[in-house]
C-alpha cells in the first residue's frame, strides 16, 4: 500500500509539473506573437548575450568532443566493418551515427550542462533577490524580457553548434582515416556526401531546433519555479538537468520513430 500511495503521490507531482510546463509553453507561444513597442531593443541585447554564451563560448568544447567522436567512430567501424567486407559503408555509418543521432544528442547534453544550468541558476537567483518582482513592478514582462530571448538564443545556438559538431566530427573521422587508410580528403568527403540524403540534414536541423526549444523551455521554467529560498536554486537546477535530458531523449526517440515508421 505504501509503495502505491508513494507512487501515486510522485505521479501526481510529475503530472502537476508537466501541466504547469505546458501552460508555461503556451504562455511563451502566445507572448511571442504579441506586438509590443520598444521591447525589440531590450530583448535583442539579452538574445545577443545568450548566443555569445551558448553558441560562441561553447565552440571549443563542441569542437573537441566532435573531433574525438568522429575519430573514434571511424576507428570502431574500421575494426568491425572489414570483417564483413563493409568498408564502403563507413560514410553511411558516419552519417547515421553522427549526423542523425549522436550529433544532436551530444550537442544537447553540452548545452544543458553549460547553458541550461546557468539559465536556471540565474533566473532562480533573480527570483530570490526580488529582481523578477522588480521587473514586474516596472511593467516589464519577465517572460518577454528574460525567457523568450533565451529560448530563441539557445535554439539558434544549438542548431549552429549542431552544424559545427557535424563538420568537426567529419574532420575527426577524416584525420583517423588518413592515418589508417591513407584516404584523400576529397574521396572521404565524396563518400560522406554520397551517403548523405536531404532527410539526414533535415532531421539533424529539426532535432537541433526541437532540443533547443525543449532545453531552454525547461530550464527557464525551473528557474521561475524557485519561490523564496536560495537553497531551492541548486535543487531546481538539478531538476532542470534531469528533465531536459529526459525530454531530449524522448524527443529523439519520437523523431527517429516518425522517420522510420511515420
Amino acid at each position: 500500500m505504501g509503495f502505491f500511495s508513494g507512487f501515486g503521490k510522485w505521479f501526481l507531482v510529475q503530472l502537476d509539473d508537466f501541466t504547469s510546463l505546458c501552460a508555461y509553453g503556451t504562455l511563451i507561444a502566445r507572448t511571442i506573437f504579441q506586438k509590443r513597442t520598444g521591447i525589440f531593443r531590450t530583448g535583442l541585447n539579452v538574445l545577443f548575450k545568450q548566443v555569445i554564451f551558448t553558441g560562441v563560448d561553447a565552440l571549443p568544447v563542441i569542437g573537441f568532443v566532435s573531433l574525438v567522436i568522429g575519430g573514434v567512430s571511424i576507428i570502431q567501424s574500421l575494426t568491425f566493418l572489414p570483417r564483413f567486407g563493409g568498408e564502403s559503408f563507413i560514410g553511411k555509418l558516419l552519417v547515421t551515427v553522427i549526423i542523425r543521432e549522436l550529433g544532436p544528442l551530444l550537442t544537447g547534453f553540452i548545452v544543458i550542462g553549460r547553458s541550461g544550468t546557468a539559465i536556471t541558476a540565474e533566473i532562480g537567483n533573480m527570483v530570490v533577490s526580488h529582481e523578477i518582482e522588480a521587473l514586474e513592478s516596472m511593467g516589464v514582462d519577465p517572460v518577454r524580457y528574460i525567457a523568450i530571448p533565451r529560448i530563441i538564443g539557445v535554439t539558434a545556438s544549438l542548431v549552429s553548434l549542431n552544424i559545427y559538431f557535424n563538420i568537426f566530427a567529419i574532420l575527426g573521422g577524416f584525420l583517423v582515416s588518413k592515418l589508417v587508410l591513407v584516404t584523400s580528403f576529397t574521396i572521404f568527403l565524396q563518400r560522406i556526401v554520397q551517403s548523405m540524403a536531404v532527410s539526414d540534414i533535415v532531421i539533424n536541423l529539426a532535432k537541433g531546433c526541437i532540443f533547443g526549444v525543449l532545453i531552454a523551455l525547461i530550464c527557464t521554467f525551473k528557474g521561475f519555479s524557485v519561490k523564496f529560498s536560495s537553497t531551492e536554486v541548486p535543487r531546481m537546477t538539478t531538476k532542470a538537468v534531469v528533465n531536459a535530458i529526459t525530454a531530449i531523449f524522448l524527443a529523439n526517440g519520437v523523431v527517429t520513430f516518425i522517420y522510420y515508421f511515420g
Binding site: T37, H130, L135
Partner: protein, 278 residues
C-alpha cells in the same frame, strides 16, 4: 475621503498555511501620501505587494482606477504598471546591469525613445540623486543607500502616477536618507501623484503622511488622517504606535552599540572573540 486611485476589498492572504493578512479593506485617495505602518511582521510589505498587484490575494479584490486587477489580462496588467513605481526594501536592482542600464531599462522597454533621449532622461535622473559618478557601477559595487536611491530613480524615470515605497529609509546612511526625504516631500505635494509608503519611521510618517493605516495582528486596526491616528486617545492605537517607536529605537540602539564597540579598545567583539582570537 477623496476619490480612490486604488482600493482593497476584504483582502486575505496566507503563505504556507499561515494567515498573513485577514480581511483588509481600504481605499487609497488620489494625490495623497498614505503611510502603512505597524509592528514588525504584521504584513505591511505583503499588503503593499498585494496593492501593487505583485502578489495575488487568496480572497478579496484589488481595484486599480476602479478596475479589478484580477480581471485584467497579463498584458493589460503589465501595461498599467507602466504608470506605477515600486521601491523595494532591498532595492532589487538588476544585478547584471550597471546603474545606467538599470535606469534605462523601463524607458527602452515601454517607449520608442532614441538612445539620445534615453541618455538625457537617465542623466537627469542620476543628477537629481547625485549619482553621476556611479553611472557605470554594478549594483554590487554600491552601498545600500546608493542602491535605494538608484531604485527610487529607476521608479521615477517613467513619471509614475502611483508610487509604492517599501521602508524607504531603512538601512541607509544619513546622506541617502536626506536625498530620499527631499524627493518624497515634493512628490507628496504633487496632486497627480499618489504615494503608498510602508514605514517604521514615525518621524517620516509625521512629516510626510496625509493618511496613516495601522496594521496590527494581520488586520487593518485603524485608518485615518495623520492627526486622527497620531492624536488618537484610543489606548490600543497609542500602544501600537509606542511598539513601533520602541522597535525603531531598539534598531538604532543596536546600531549605536556596534558603533560604540568599534570605538572601544576591545572593538565590537569581546577580548577572546572575533577574527584573530586565539
Amino acid at each position: 475621503m477623496d476619490e480612490y486611485v486604488l482600493e482593497m476589498k476584504d483582502v486575505s492572504v496566507s503563505f504556507g498555511g499561515e494567515r498573513i493578512l485577514d480581511g483588509i479593506s481600504m481605499g487609497f485617495p488620489r494625490g495623497r501620501l498614505i503611510a502603512v505602518t505597524g509592528p514588525s511582521g504584521c504584513g505591511k510589505s505583503t499588503l503593499l505587494k498585494i496593492a501593487a498587484g505583485l502578489i495575488p490575494p487568496d480572497s478579496g479584490s484589488v481595484y486599480l482606477e476602479g478596475v479589478d486587477i484580477a480581471s485584467l489580462s497579463r498584458r493589460a496588467l503589465f501595461a498599467r504598471r507602466k504608470e506605477c513605481a515600486f521601491v523595494f526594501q532591498d532595492a532589487a536592482l538588476l544585478s547584471n546591469l550597471d546603474v545606467y542600464n538599470n535606469l534605462a531599462l523601463p524607458l527602452r522597454y515601454h517607449y520608442n525613445h532614441s538612445a539620445k533621449e534615453i541618455e538625457k532622461k537617465v542623466t537627469r535622473a542620476l543628477e537629481s540623486f547625485g549619482l553621476e559618478e556611479e553611472k557605470r557601477h554594478l549594483p554590487a559595487q554600491l552601498s545600500m543607500g546608493e542602491k535605494k536611491l538608484v531604485s527610487f530613480a529607476r521608479g521615477l524615470i517613467i513619471d509614475p502616477k502611483l508610487i509604492f515605497l517599501d521602508e524607504p529609509l531603512s538601512g541607509i546612511d544619513a546622506s541617502a536618507r536626506e536625498k530620499m526625504v527631499d524627493t518624497i516631500i515634493p512628490l507628496r505635494d504633487d496632486p497627480a501623484t499618489t504615494i503608498i509608503m510602508v514605514s517604521h519611521n514615525i518621524e517620516l510618517i509625521k512629516s510626510a503622511a496625509d493618511y496613516i493605516a495601522l496594521v496590527f495582528n494581520k488586520k487593518l486596526f485603524a485608518y485615518g488622517t495623520r492627526d486622527e491616528i497620531l492624536k488618537s486617545r484610543d489606548p490600543i492605537t497609542q500602544k501600537i504606535l509606542s511598539i513601533i517607536i520602541d522597535e525603531e529605537a531598539q534598531i538604532a540602539e543596536e546600531i549605536l552599540g556596534v558603533l560604540t564597540g568599534l570605538g572601544s579598545p576591545e572593538g565590537p567583539f569581546g577580548p577572546d572573540e572575533g577574527p584573530g582570537a586565539m
